[in-house]
Symmetry: C2
C-alpha cells in the first residue's frame, strides 16, 4: 500500500447539541471515547449545524412575525411564512426566486438556497437553524481548543451542504476555515510535460469538506470527522476567501 493515502475518520458519539454547549469539548470527548487520536496536519471537519446550535444561531418560529412580503411569498411557494421571514432576515441579496426556490446571498457572500436556514436536525419542531454568524471565528475557536488540549497543529473546517447551478445534487462546501490555506495555488507548478500550470487554483478545503461529507451524511448522526493525509498547508485559514469578488463573478 502506498504511504500517501488519505483517510476520512468519522467521529461518532457527539450528543445532541444545544445552545451554550461547549462544542470543542464535546468533540474531543467523543473522539477520546472512540479512541480516535488527533495527529499533526489532521483536518477536523465539523458540520455547521452543531456549530450553529452550540452558538445559539437558532430561531423559534413562534417568535417570528412574518412581514406582508414573507406572507405572500410563503403562500405562493407553499412555505411557512415565518420561515420565509427568517430567510429574508438572513439574506443580503436575493439571487433568484423561482420554481419554489429562494437562492440567497448571505454571510460573507455565500450563495445558497434559503440563506442556509434549515429545519432538519434542528432543536425540534418549529425551530430553524441559521448559518454560523462568523464561521471562520467558529473554526478558529475549535482549532485553538484542539491544539491546546491535544498539543497538535490541526486545520478546522466548518461545512455545509449546498446545491449548485447546472448540476443536480448537493455537495459539501467549506464555510469556515482555520489553520490551513483554503485554496491551493498550483500556478507555477509544472505538469507531466514540464508545461507550466496557468489557471489551477484548487478549492482544497471544499474537496476536504466533500471527502468528510461521505462519512457525515445527514441521516448518519455523524457531525464531525477527521481527514488525515490531505495535501493542506498550514495557514491563517479564512473561508471568506472562497467568496468570488463581484467583479470576477459572471453569474451574479
Amino acid at each position: 500500500m502506498p504511504q500517501n493515502m488519505i483517510t476520512a475518520i468519522p467521529i461518532p458519539g457527539i450528543p445532541h447539541v444545544r445552545p451554550g454547549d461547549d462544542l470543542p469539548r464535546l468533540i474531543l470527548a467523543a473522539a477520546s471515547e472512540a479512541r480516535i487520536e488527533f495527529r499533526s496536519n489532521d483536518v477536523l471537519v465539523v458540520c455547521q449545524k452543531v456549530v450553529s446550535k452550540a452558538e445559539g444561531a437558532v430561531v423559534a418560529l413562534r417568535d417570528v412575525a412574518p412581514s406582508p412580503f414573507a406572507e405572500r411569498i410563503g403562500r405562493k411557494m407553499g412555505k411557512d411564512p415565518r420561515v420565509v421571514e427568517v430567510i429574508l432576515r438572513e439574506s443580503t441579496r436575493i439571487v433568484r426566486m423561482d420554481g419554489g426556490l429562494i437562492i440567497c446571498e448571505t454571510g460573507p457572500g455565500w450563495v445558497c438556497a434559503n440563506a442556509g436556514v434549515d429545519s432538519s436536525n434542528s432543536l425540534g419542531p418549529d425551530t430553524v437553524v441559521l448559518l454560523p454568524r462568523d464561521a471562520d471565528a467558529s473554526a478558529e475557536a475549535i482549532r485553538k481548543v484542539v491544539e491546546r488540549e491535544r498539543d497538535v497543529s490541526v486545520g478546522v473546517i466548518i461545512t455545509d451542504t449546498f446545491g449548485r447551478p447546472w448540476r443536480e445534487g448537493l455537495t459539501e462546501v467549506a464555510l469556515g476555515v482555520a489553520g490551513i490555506e483554503p485554496l491551493l495555488d498550483l500556478r507555477g507548478r509544472r505538469d507531466l510535460n514540464g508545461h507550466e500550470l496557468l489557471h489551477t487554483t484548487m478549492a482544497i478545503a471544499d474537496d476536504v469538506a466533500c471527502a468528510a461529507g461521505l462519512v457525515m451524511l445527514k441521516d448518519s448522526g455523524i457531525a464531525a470527522a477527521i481527514i488525515r493525509g490531505a495535501p493542506v498547508t498550514a495557514g491563517p485559514g479564512g473561508g471568506w476567501r472562497f467568496v468570488r469578488p463581484r467583479e470576477s463573478d459572471l453569474f451574479r
Copy 2:
C-alpha cells in the same frame, strides 16, 4: 478506530498515455505493481485526461483553421485562435463570454470553462485534449475490464476539475459514472429528531470525485485512485444524470 473509515488510495505509476493505449490494462498493471488490490464496492476514479488521450480525443493545433469569429475572440482574449476554434467546435452553447473566460455547455450538458479543452498534461506542445466523447461509456468500459480481471464489483468515475459560480477555486466533478448510483437520495430518511428529510439528494459521485482529487492533483502525476468505504450503492451509473434539466435550472 471506527470501522467505517473511507480511504483514498492513489495508484502511482500509470505511464504517459497515448492514443490507442489500453487504459484499463495500464491501470490494472500499475495497481498490481504498487500492490494495490481491488475490493468489492471500491470506486476506481480516473481523471478524464488519460481517458481522453487513450481514446484519441486530442487535437493537434497545426491541423486547426480558426474561423473569423475564433480569430477575433482569440485576439480579444489573448488566447490562441486555434484553441478558441476547438473550444467553439466542442460547444453546444456559450453560457458566458466575458473577463477572458469562455463558459460553455458541452457533452451531455456540462457547463465549464473552455468546453473542457485543455493544454495541460496533453501530448505535448501544440496539442489540446478534449473531454471524452462519452464519459459514461468510458467508465463502463473500464469497469467491465476491472470486474472481469479482478472478479470484484467496483464503481468507476471519470473526473475532471471544474470551476463554479460564486466560489473561488476548482473542485472535482464526476463526468462518467459506471456501476454505482451517481446521486444518493436521502429523501424519506429521517434526521436525528425523526424529522423526514425533504430535499436532500446528495451528489455522491461528485463527493467521491473530490475525495479522489486530493490524491490526484494536477502536478502529482497520479491519474487514478481507489476510494474505499464510500456510501455508494450498486447501480447502472450515468454521469449524465448530473445534468440539471433546463426547466429546473435557474442559472442558464
